[in-house]
Symmetry: D2
Subunit: 397 residues, 4 copies
């Protein structure tokens, strides 16, 4: 059982608490820190916390607390981790870990030096669909992974600090891209080095300094390509989709719109307000169990079980740092308009991975390009002659 | 915290245990009864039970046990409940409650007379999508409910006792129809009396005595209509869909195929075996988190929280009995080819509910039939003259 | 090339004309009859007709006309066919053919006795998806057909005559059920006799005499079951889905909502009015090419090519009559609450078809009930012993 | 009526002929040129051509021919157009127009100087869904267009010449990217100058010289971004999807998989071979009417009607040339790893278009960033103070 101190009583803090104390959970949020007194009070009342304060250190240091959960604006992650390290309290931190790789690396080193548990709350790498997909990919059902794309777009975040570049450290790319980068890393292999990034980012719609739309490609050492598409200007709800291509298969995941719950309402009979939908009438696509479907339950289960068992969770501060490093390269690329190398002063994965060969032998003299069944029931082969490089067709029955 | 005795170590018993001890659950399966020694042994090893036996009464009566969970073939539900009543142990029972309404009513009365907790494990009335849909319907977003259809079809159950009419009490209609009936009852209103049933059932494919395909209509006192479609002969996986029509809206729920996880695999690279799919290659549609998506988690949460709080769960033995009564009428109708009345010697809902009026006033002289927007931007009305009954068109701008 | 007289210049007449003169068509609508002068004028102007009149006989008899297309209210179909027979003009007639089987049979006999071409404009049996599905079923990909369901529901028709029982001959069941019945007949086999019908129908919402919601089951001589669900009270657009179950497969067709065109609009930037949608904002699901996707193009191609080649079209007046006979039985069943026999004084299909056997031999001593692959890679069999009837499980590797 | 000479009797030539002579078409393919005698013979027999030859010029010059349709490998497009210009025959040419912009520009100039009709057969800009989507976008329902993505991936083309870089001029990017580029151009505005391109391309799987996977971003002068994803290594059939984001809405088009026809078959009962699917068992997703759904019918209707009316078709040789210019930049970018300018020696669109302002006034002192409805029914505003740039939250009821 974990006794949790929640740092931050806003949207994400409440979401976490729903998950942490949901169902038949044995864990308990016992303490709350919020910057504003009334937020702390409301949170404590709603979730039955026994301690509340606007003094972050007091909450972290409270003797009942066995685990600190950081649910604060991005610029406050590092200071909070510093206090956890000082008081030797295990800690899990919301995404992105830092505003930059330097900040994230610092946080990782603090945790490792203090010998405390550090978990990176990358919920979308714990959604039930993602977990099953990852397992499927690891079992080889898709063959060699060629491309992993993740898309997260919606009409913009709920709180004002997200829109302020100083507090947030960036725009939609840092806010949403951190999910996408880690999803692709998982499918391609976390031990495969991300080599370089090409990114386009722009402020197309909102009167802000940070980007509200970005697209990037991430090249991995084994020749696989990661891709992300993120935006705060999408209209229609929350679009949350992953696509993976392998030599032997494909996976498409949809985490929100079009997941088997479809509803039409004229809006006449009730003042039903659908969450995250942009309207309360017409066709709506709700999600049944948001805290479970978006991965929160499985995430905290892994975090706390890992902590109790003395093992690493699936997503660590090290992972958060690698994600930040990729996003740093993306931001730089958006400015320089060049492919930018991913700077990884600490790298714990494989070195010098080579790309797979494209040459599949058909027979001693030919490589196989394609094999297909014709309408008239014969097998048609497209082959490349090894000697001449010429491409020929051949039918076999 | 509940300490559970599981009765039955087969497919559904293991499924329940996954849910009961899943995530960060505070509950524990402590004892297992199975008819075969090796099943009990395997189950105890897999789920960490401290007591195992092939003597059902010994398991129920074990002092550590605070809650009995019946996961046995249908013909053993009543004997198990009798033992729970005798030993004053709270009990939750898998679906269908009985093989007939008489059997179910007997079980309900045993529980009520013994003063123990009795919960009816109707998991599909706890799936996250269902819960949100029901909440939406209760809030009025669909207006008055006109029709509620539930469909459950798959290629047939896993264990041999299902196919034996004596042990099972029926075929696919009892096995799957019990879900569908209760889903429709929830949407239409559990306090609205089911009046009569018309059913078609046949043994179209399998060499068995019971039906392998059935369709039925259930009329409710307020004029609403329930419908179910069930089969053990469906090809393509498990089809689990609900549809609800109201005067102001529509809800479509899909619980299995097409829920946002789509996968293609050539099958060459691994021996991946997808659960409940009929093949391990081609396009597959897995479900992310089956115990959660099919309602098991929310079901046990409600059951145990209700028991601990001294309140009724959402699905009680009374509900199980009403479902059985509707299915009894369906079986009778399939034989007599008549609409058969639903026999409810005990009824705890509303009496004498009247149908809603279809007459919507447009003005003093007309009823409104339809209002629509034309392509050229005018509103077109179809009205019925109160005096003459004549139907006219009128355009208003 | 056909020179067509259109009878009726309303919604469906215009829809037909769009199809008939669409793309690079060689056919031409040359004459228009409408009950109101201004309708005829507008139609003639829009489609370039050279002759227009409010005298139906003058239009039919016009020497340029080689083909008459009936697009009139249901009560005018028979009088129009009488005139076609009198003037020996080939004729195609919109659905339903008659208001009753007696009326339809009369029309069929008129056409056959006059030796003219008679085509039944059952467009939904010509939609591209339907044609490919039917071809697939005929090729045996689904095995033996067990069940064919068709559903057509929307918020009600556009013109006032539909809502008037005398002119229309019925409510949503005659209007929409005629499609559904013929779709199921095609999948099950047009030469298989429909034996009896059980129907529920009600006027749940609209202030009209006819039914606005109906569900029916149609039993065929070979044991297959047809089903239809029709309504004028559905909210959410037009729901047009077919489902077919066979011993070896399943087909699901969606003809309208969810066909690959999804659109969200705030409605702020334009006054876009989507056709048949219930709103002009939120998520909308348009169809790309309605006249093609709903079968009009393929229907007229078959009709005219059949006429020119002296062969029968896929849908004849005989088919229209069988459909009416099934609907007559449905209307009677809705009143008597009994399964009602389908009365077919003329029947041109097979006689005395027997149901297929359910007994699949596994070996000399057992029938096969089910075969499935276990998670641990073994094949599990459920078998029935021929001698004892007992059901057993067996594993083979 | 058009009398068509088909150049090329392979896969695409036959597809075109199906469309040209399909339904009730008034047009006729009268002559066929093929490189191999037996191909010409077979084609002539199948489609009823009266003239066939392996001499291209003889076919083009044949006096019956009013329109030439080029369905040849990419390296033969220019020579064919030269002969059309020489013999003053109207011509429509398959995609891509040229292998490079220089080649395409040359073809365009030949056509313009000869005063003949030149149509660019970009079928995917004529699919019914695309046409309706484009119309919707032009009507403003999506507001200002921010991003248009098109994806076309499948397991590789049918004929050997595609895989040979000399004949094809490139790999999947030229073959498939030409569609995607023109789709995005249409949504963003054909008169908006494409400015620069960033592209990643690789040969990930096939033993060929050209790329088998490519992703690119195309920047337009007004700040909109185009994107394409193309591959010959996708597993699962043909993936053909477009997505468009605007300030007021979203459009998603799916042209192949998941368009409302879903089918499961065990494969036991027939040797059904589905087109373009990778298997003949399991879940399959056929398209109903391929020639119509993929745009061929609407394309030829526009082409021939334009030619007969003396107007430009929607897709001209000029468009084909612009597409080639964008792809030239993409190929260069894939090599240089830079954003490469699009070289357009001829440009007929707008000059100096400026990006739209992001500043939406809320009141005199604030810009509006976001407005949303809270769960508790209040409107929440996120505003930016004009004077300070500070971002604040405000609730209004």
């Amino acid at each position: 059982m974990q006794q949790i101190a929640m740092l931050g009583g806003g949207f994400i803090g409440r979401f976490y608490a729903e998950s942490l104390q949901g169902q038949r959970s044995r864990d308990k949020v016992v303490a709350i820190y919020a910057r504003r007194e009334e937020t702390a009070q409301q949170f404590a009342a709603d979730y039955g916390c026994t301690f509340q304060s606007t003094d972050m250190e007091a909450v972290i240091a409270h003797p009942d607390v066995t685990m600190v959960c950081i649910a604060l604006p991005n610029n406050l992650h590092a200071p909070a981790v510093e206090l956890c390290a000082k008081h030797k309290k295990n800690v899990v931190c919301t995404k992105p870990l830092g505003r930059t790789a330097a900040e994230a690396l610092h946080m990782m080193q603090l945790v490792e030096e203090a010998g405390i548990f550090g978990g990176y709350l990358e919920d979308l790498c714990y959604s039930p669909k993602f977990l099953k997909a990852l397992d499927t990919v690891k079992n080889g059902a898709l063959g060699r992974i060629l491309w992993a794309k993740s898309r997260e777009t919606h009409p913009g975040p709920h709180s004002n600090w997200f829109w302020d570049k100083e507090q947030a450290g960036g725009g939609c790319m840092l806010d949403l891209g951190c999910h996408c980068v880690e999803i692709a890393r998982n499918f391609i292999g976390k031990d495969i080095r991300p080599v370089e990034v090409m990114c386009w980012a722009a402020t197309q719609v909102k009167p802000i300094d940070a980007e509200d739309h970005a697209i990037a490609l991430v090249k991995y050492e084994n020749g696989a390509i990661g891709q992300f598409e993120v935006s705060w200007t999408f209209r229609g709800g929350m679009d949350l989709r992953d696509e993976v291509m392998g030599t032997e298969g494909t996976i498409w995941i949809n985490n929100f719109l079009r997941t088997g719950f479809e509803m039409f309402t004229t809006g006449k009979a009730s003042d039903y307000v659908a969450e995250k939908a942009e309207s309360n009438a017409g066709w709506l696509f709700p999600v049944g169990d948001e805290v479970n479907d978006l991965g929160y339950n499985h995430m905290f289960t892994d975090m706390f079980s890992a902590c109790e068992a003395g093992r690493e969770p699936a997503e660590t501060f090290y992972d958060g740092y690698v994600v930040n490093a990729i996003l740093d390269a993306a931001y730089k690329s958006a400015e320089t308009k060049q492919w930018e190398p991913v700077q990884l002063p600490v790298w714990r994965g494989q070195e010098g991975v080579e790309q797979a060969s494209n040459l599949v032998d058909y027979d001693a003299d030919h490589y196989l390009i394609k094999e297909e069944m014709t309408h008239y029931g014969k097998k048609k082969l497209i082959l490349k002659e090894k000697a001449t490089g010429q491409i020929i067709e051949r039918e076999v029955s």
